[in-house]
């Protein structure tokens, strides 16, 4: 196995993912409340059992807002060599993906409202098999990466 790709995402990615985790946490309150009501009103379970959904919710919140953003950031790496884009990502399941630049059809940068608030952008490049993403790069950096991929794509010999 070759060495890990050289570049990391912007450190602000962690804050972005924490924010996303918080928003998800709020939405997760709905099923949690549902489970609680089911246990409390319908099944008429003991108070201790009724607390279980809230406990599960709290654990999940810690996981998605505190633990996972750090681990994800540490794992996420990318590198654009002169022939391929090399990506590595994952929490427990680690994925390494290589995309030949000759296969890239076009490149975008995208920015959601949350990303904009952190000054971050996502680079998306498309092959016939669908999109690949490099998320949470500082916006000027994302523009650079996009232009570099676009420039290299144009100069590739047909494999």
């Amino acid at each position: 196995m070759r060495a890990e790709p050289s570049e990391r995402l912007d450190p602000r990615a962690k804050r972005l993912w924490r924010l996303e985790g918080l928003i998800t946490s709020v939405f997760l309150l709905i099923p949690t409340l549902g489970a609680f009501l089911l246990l409390d009103r319908v099944v008429d379970a003991a108070a201790l059992v009724g607390a279980l959904p809230w406990l599960a919710w709290a654990l999940l919140v810690v996981l998605i807002t505190v633990i996972s953003p750090d681990l994800r950031w540490r794992r996420w790496r990318y590198e654009i060599t002169d022939r391929e884009v090399d990506l590595q990502r994952g929490l427990l399941y680690v994925t390494r993906t290589l995309v030949p630049l000759a296969r890239v059809q076009h490149v975008d940068t995208q920015q959601g409202p949350l990303e904009r608030s952190q000054g971050l952008s996502t680079v998306v490049f498309y092959t016939a098999a669908g999109p690949n993403r490099i998320p949470a790069l500082a916006t000027p950096r994302a523009d650079e990466v996009r232009d570099r991929i676009a420039a290299l794509t144009g100069t590739q010999d047909e494999l």
Binding site: M1, L92, V94, A129, L159
Partner: protein, 487 residues
């Protein structure tokens, strides 16, 4: 070539009226029939019904004429233009080099008029342009259009002078009637046919009154175990017949010919389809042996072709039935790039444990508590049953493990894998859109990894539990650097 704007064949009017009539009839027939049956048939009601039918035919006829006048297509510059819309004008422009293929389909109505439907399929690639369908085109016009839109022409000017000495399409293979029936009998699509049968029986339930059905069912309901078996066998037989019929309808008259750089497939009984696929758009070939065909040594050859991902299934069939021994010669004649049949490498022995666990684990999860429950619930005879299921799942895992093989042979990746069907995938390295290596914590401990290659939208192939070092090497050998290294 710039062609003047062309209208569709006037038969489109009949097709439009028929389709809109069918649609309206479908929507309104149930309430109408309901009213007629409930209140009885009187001449005034029938007259009213006929009047409504007549008005809707006239209205849709007028609409069809207007939309026929508004619809034109033409080739100008380097693009195919399609303009339509009676009230709002809508023009679609498709660059010629985005056109994937130009297919023709001939349904029963089109056959009546000797015309075809032309479908212009465009390359997906994350784009938003949809495909264009011209529902009624005269044969000569369709051929002209196919030539004008043919992909990878050196220059557009050459198209005006259609080479008179262009070689006629070379027939590669035709499906004989015997093979067609054999393909139907072994298609194994009983699973597909069963829901159809249930739907039909539901339909009958709706039509027949509950009382009637109940009275009838009393005589029919199986009183014994044998009765259930007979009925189940009957349903299966019926499903099998439906599957045979479906295959025959889809594949009757299947013929594959090669026309220069393209393959042409003609097939279908009621609906004649003619599909043209440029050979260099074929991304991967799959040789599939389903359970029924394995003992007979028969296979189905499928292709993954860029732009056909969404239209999976029948349309991707390259040939419906071949003997396993014929495949290599067939591929040599059809798409030589895919004609490899190398000796496959196997997975490391330590991967076997992972295959067994992966397939048996869910069963163990349920089986142990279930067995305990059965033993406890005074049914000790049944207690081993869940455990036997788990053991079967484990055996299935071993079977899957044995079925996996792979090879990297002169720039082509060959993967063999087995679920119930045995599938061999052949994908040239230069067609791979991306390669990934996936490693779970369990795999990391066992020094194993999963290699995934993507050849098109929604078509990915994987080798699960390769040796991690080997997988890492293969990952890079499959890339552009690997292409250079291969002589």
């Amino acid at each position: 070539m710039s062609s003047s704007p062309q209208r569709l064949h006037p038969a489109i009017l009949v097709i439009k009226v028929l389709t809109s009539f069918r649609r309206w009839f479908g929507i309104t027939s149930v309430p109408w029939l309901f009213v007629l049956f409930r209140d009885g048939i009187s001449s005034s009601r029938v007259l009213l019904l006929l009047a409504v039918v007549a008005i809707s035919i006239v209205a849709s006829g007028v609409w069809a004429v207007l939309s026929w006048r508004a619809t034109v297509y033409f080739v100008r510059g380097n693009a195919f233009h399609f303009r339509q819309g009676v009230i709002g004008k809508n023009e679609r422009t498709v660059p010629l080099d985005h056109i994937q293929s130009v297919d023709t389909v001939q349904g029963p109505v089109q056959r009546l008029f000797g015309i075809v439907e032309v479908r212009v399929e465009t390359a997906g690639g994350g784009g938003t342009e949809a495909d264009v369908s011209l529902a009624a085109v005269a044969r000569p016009a369709a051929q002209q259009l196919q030539q004008a839109l043919a992909p990878r022409r050196p220059s557009v000017a050459a198209i005006d002078a259609v080479e008179p000495d262009a070689p006629a399409p070379l027939l590669v293979r035709r499906l004989s009637t015997g093979r067609l029936l054999l393909a139907g009998a072994t298609s194994g699509q009983i699973g597909v046919a069963l829901p159809i049968i249930f739907t039909i029986s539901q339909l009958f339930d709706d039509v027949l009154t509950p009382d009637f059905v109940l009275a009838y069912a009393q005589d029919w309901l199986p009183g014994s175990f044998a009765g259930i078996v007979v009925i189940a066998a009957g349903v299966l037989l019926l499903a099998w017949l439906v599957a045979v019929g479906g295959t025959v309808l889809a594949y009757a008259g299947f013929s594959l010919s090669r026309d220069g750089d393209s393959l042409r497939i003609t097939r279908g009984l009621l609906e004649r389809r003619e599909v043209t696929i440029p050979i260099n758009r074929i991304q991967a070939i799959q040789v599939v042996e389903n359970v029924l065909r394995q003992p007979l040594g028969l296979v189905l050859v499928k292709m993954e072709s860029a732009g056909y991902g969404a239209d999976a299934g029948v349309s991707t069939t390259l040939f419906p039935l071949l003997r396993r021994t014929e495949v290599e010669d067939f591929l040599q004649a059809t798409a030589p790039e895919f004609a490899v049949w190398p000796v496959l490498q196997r997975l490391p022995q330590r991967a076997r444990r992972r295959y067994v666990l992966r397939s048996a684990f869910p069963f163990l999860f349920i089986a142990l508590p279930a067995s305990a429950l059965l033993a406890w619930q005074d049914r000790p005879v049944l207690a081993p049953l869940p455990l036997i299921m788990a053991a079967l799942a484990a055996a299935y895992g071993v079977l899957r493990f044995r079925g996996v093989g792979w090879a990297l042979s002169t720039g082509r990746l060959v993967i063999s894998h087995r679920t119930l069907s045995h599938v061999i995938v052949i994908a040239p390295q230069r067609r791979l859109q991306s390669r990934s290596l996936l490693q779970s914590p369990f795999q990391r401990r066992a020094r194993l990894a999963t290699l995934i290659v993507r050849v098109g939208r929604g078509s990915a192939f994987e080798i699960t539990d390769l040796d991690a070092t080997v997988a890492g090497e293969v990952l890079y050998r499959l890339g552009p650097a690997g292409v250079q290294a291969t002589p």
